[in-house]
Amino acid sequence: MGEVIVITSGKGGVGKTTTTANIGTALSLKGKKVVLIDTDIGLRNLDVVMGLENRIVYDIVDVVEGYCRLKQALIKDKRFDGLYLLPAAQTRDKNSIKPNQMQELCNELKEEYDFVIIDCPAGIEQGFKNAIAGAEKAIVVTTPEVSAVRDADRIIGLLEANELRNPSIIVNRVRPDMVRRGDMMSIEDIIDILAIDLLGVVPDDEKIVVSTNRGEPAVTDPKSLAGKAYINIASRILGENVPIMNLESDEGFLPKLKKLFGLKTN
């Protein structure tokens, strides 16, 4: 019996879809059977981030409305063994699916897959309610900004009100240089304020833009620091004890020079 995990955030644009794509790909690279579900009906994007947009025939609404069988709508990612995508419908709206239908869908999928990973839409309305309906575990994505952390706090409250206790958090797009000079909240600051378990820290990485341009998840790029962070997160999901990445090693030229001369940089 597999595990159903929802990736959520409240605020848009913090990296839910990128996180879903990379965690899913990383888990499949570790030999797990994974299905990714895009629940952002009307604004689907997981397909393009995964580079599978040209292979969509049926979508999630077709499945719940009975126009096709579940198997027909699942797109097999030929690059990664055991990775599948159930795309969202693009020309429908969030009300095309009901929470109980989502629950049934998740129950059916977890019979066959090790992980069912749900990409949740932004907001706290119907789309959010659908996305969390079938989930057993929640991962909240945030960035070190006041607006994103505030929304994460609200989402954590709503998840707990919906029996999704003890969600964990991923802090995305961290800029170690800015944290060092005191212009960005640190991981400790955010964890302290939200009082939540830390699942991972993902550095801001230009390679994410490149990988999204190409439709190839960053975890396949050994040079991508963000990709490495996502692989670590996947390991933690599998119960491995991987320490949080030391972003200090990613320092630029100036801090290195200062260190060379024995000047304190933080």
Binding site: V146, R150, D153, G157, G182, D183, M184, D189, I193
Partner: protein, 94 residues
């Protein structure tokens, strides 16, 4: 002089402290679900009661939700803090 210096170097402190303080305050309000209207109502009631005993500076009265260390040592808890300047104590109780 000290004030001038802190102003001069204040920018070096970084904006994260500001971000943290603003975030903490906004979360107190979000979590408690307390609206500014609610605080205004509370404020006028408090003025009414205190005015029976003490003459206070109603203009300068400040009431806000904030965070404080819990007496039982259970970490940070929300607190209602009122700053009420006294003009004159009415000694009618004597």
């Amino acid at each position: 002089m000290i004030l001038d210096l802190s102003k001069l170097f204040g920018r070096n402190k970084g904006s994260k402290t500001v971000a943290k303080e603003r975030l903490k305050l906004v979360l107190i309000h979000d979590r408690a679900n307390v609206s500014p209207q609610f605080l205004e109502m509370l404020k006028s009631e408090i003025i009414k009661v205190i005015n029976n005993y003490i003459e206070i500076d109603q203009e300068a009265l400040d009431i806000k939700l904030t965070r404080t260390q819990s007496d039982e040592g259970e970490g940070i808890v929300p607190a209602l803090v009122a700053n009420i300047p006294i003009k004159n104590i009415k000694n009618s109780g004597k």
